[in-house]
């Protein structure tokens, strides 16, 4: 087991290395002087010269990469000249809303979609099954920001139940924080629920044909026990895989959702950084999201052994 974890850890190194090279090349491939691009539109020539020296821009490309990656590994992500802060400070400031949004969405989406998928599979062909499948296709097709605005219109403007936009830090006022998380999480959940419900239904359907399900029924176990303990547990691996892959959708969706609801998170930061062509910030955010994505999928890979002891590495 430890051996397996070690091997999997090693296997993500080349992936992350490629990501780092791609993100590094991103800036070098921009037309014009990277130092001028990093410094932004209002930089003085002294600042540009300073950056050029720091990045070693007169050195060969691989030396530049070594300097850049060396800095990043030491936690030095550079400075945002647009926001007048180091990128590390900027991210520390903006990370809370994004983590909160992602956590609320994950909890909500998984707790709604898995029972939905299991029930749809159990009642295959029923009205409920058709509704779930219809919703799944809809969820893929309606863009997050349209859903977001529909929810705002209905619950915030017409009914006045929830605030329209904005964010309150979790430490400041928990209730207000929660109030402002409801609509964004719902918005972000739709696509995610569609994805998980669909895969849950498919993998539970497959498992329900197995002999051990018939045996469990024959033993006289209740439907609930058969579905939850026998069917769902055996269907867990594909569901977990899709949840892991869906994290990418979640991250992409966070960018849009944060913009709709005015949450000052990393997604909003990414858009602001692109609009102001603030490359150190863009590079760091993309690198960070990718590392998180890869690590989460690694953890899920490892968790297979817990859910399905037949899987031995």
């Amino acid at each position: 087991m430890l051996d397996f974890i070690a091997r999997r850890l090693v296997s993500i190194v080349p992936v992350l290395a490629v990501v780092a090279i791609l993100v590094f090349l991103m800036l070098r491939l921009t037309p014009g002087d990277p130092a001028a691009v990093i410094a932004g539109d209002n930089a003085t020539s002294d600042q540009i010269a300073d950056i050029r020296a720091k990045l070693g821009l007169n050195e060969p490309l691989w030396t530049q990469f070594a300097i850049w990656i060396g800095n990043i590994l030491q936690g030095n992500f550079g400075e945002s000249f647009f926001f007048k802060k180091t990128v590390a400070e900027l991210i520390a400031q903006r990370i809370e809303p994004t983590v909160a949004l992602a956590t609320c969405t994950l909890i909500f989406a998984v707790s709604v979609s898995v029972p939905m998928g299991v029930l749809a599979a159990y009642r295959q062909g029923s009205v409920f099954d058709r509704i779930v499948m219809g919703f799944a296709v809809m969820g893929f097709s309606v863009p997050g920001f349209v859903i977001g605005y529909c929810l705002i219109y209905l619950f915030a403007i017409e009914l006045g139940w929830l605030p329209v936009q904005g964010y309150v830090r979790i430490g400041v006022n928990f209730w207000q924080f929660l109030e402002r998380m409801v609509l964004p999480s719902l918005t972000l959940s739709v696509g995610f629920v569609a994805l998980i419900a669909r895969i849950t239904r498919a993998s539970v359907l497959e498992v329900l044909n197995e002999d051990y399900i018939r045996t469990a029924r024959a033993k006289g176990l209740s439907n609930r026990v058969v579905l939850m303990r026998h069917a769902l547990r055996n269907a867990a691996v594909p569901i977990l895989t899709v949840i892991g892959l869906g994290i990418a959708i979640l991250m992409g969706g966070a960018v849009v959702t944060e913009s709709v609801f005015g949450l000052p998170g990393l997604g909003r930061l990414t858009v602001e950084a692109v609009l102001s062509r603030d490359f150190p910030t863009i590079q760091t955010v993309i690198l960070m999201f990718s590392v998180v994505y890869v690590v989460i999928n690694l953890l899920i890979d490892i968790s297979y052994t817990v859910f399905d002891p037949r899987i031995r590495y």
Binding site: V18, M26, L29, S141, P143, V146, G252, Y293
Partner: protein, 311 residues
Amino acid sequence: MTVATEDIVDSASIAAATAKRPSLWLIALRNPNVIIGGTILLVMVAIAALAPLLGTVDPTRIDPAARNKKPGTEITMRLDDGQTVKRVAIMGTDSLGRDVYSRVIYGARVSLAVGVAVALIAIAIGVVIGLVSGYIRWLDGIIMRVMDGLMAIPGILLAIAMVSIWRAGLVTVIFAIVVPDVPRVVRLVRSIVLTVREEPYVEGAISVGTPTWVLMFRHILPNTIAPLIVQGTFIAAAAILVEAALSFLGIGIPPEIPSWGNIMAEGRTLFRVFPHNIFYPGIFLAFTVLAINIMGDGLRDTLDPKMSKKV
């Protein structure tokens, strides 16, 4: 579930059965999902193609006298020759007085063009890389590591990064959406190449001295067509959504081009008072993507039954 005895059939009856079987494409065209999705999509294509004939005005025409009108308001338009014409703005106007109905109708052109262009380009690039990767062993490792790296960056973020490099424009946006899709096509094509190259007919072709490129294009490539069409529809649907998202965020297609995302971006600031700027393009967007996805589901069930069992 097929039973083993069903698999044992003499070759004569296989020949008879295949001769009678209607073409796969005909079966696909009879699938209800393909019919429903395809019909809605055809209507959208017709709307896009016939945009000037559908009672629209110039979608970029700014009219300071008719700003922020609710849907159904009658507005008076001054034509270039000085005459005035009364016209009902059925979807209202935006904060620059542009007619939302005309913008939504013309927006169909942009969205469909982006969807089709992204799917075609991603497949073209992906097929070439996938064939090379599946067939030339020593390149396979390098190519697949790069593809793994690309797949590790969440799609929209990669597109955002691309857009930030080459300033916004229609071509930039299309290319930015293509890049994250390429690895998915590469993996699909590569996996097919890897299975097909072990088939007896490919070995046969090699043994009679068929040149590699003929082998690739005549014997291997046809196997990828059906799954690629299915994949292509899903890429097109996702591309339309990503374009709308990028434009909505203000980092996509330049604002003067009327795309659905741009109309919604314009409507954001005054959403509380004039939600129509978001809702009308949103409905068109959702319906188009829904139609393509439904059609894709139907095509997958008929053309690529192996895939449909997996998901």
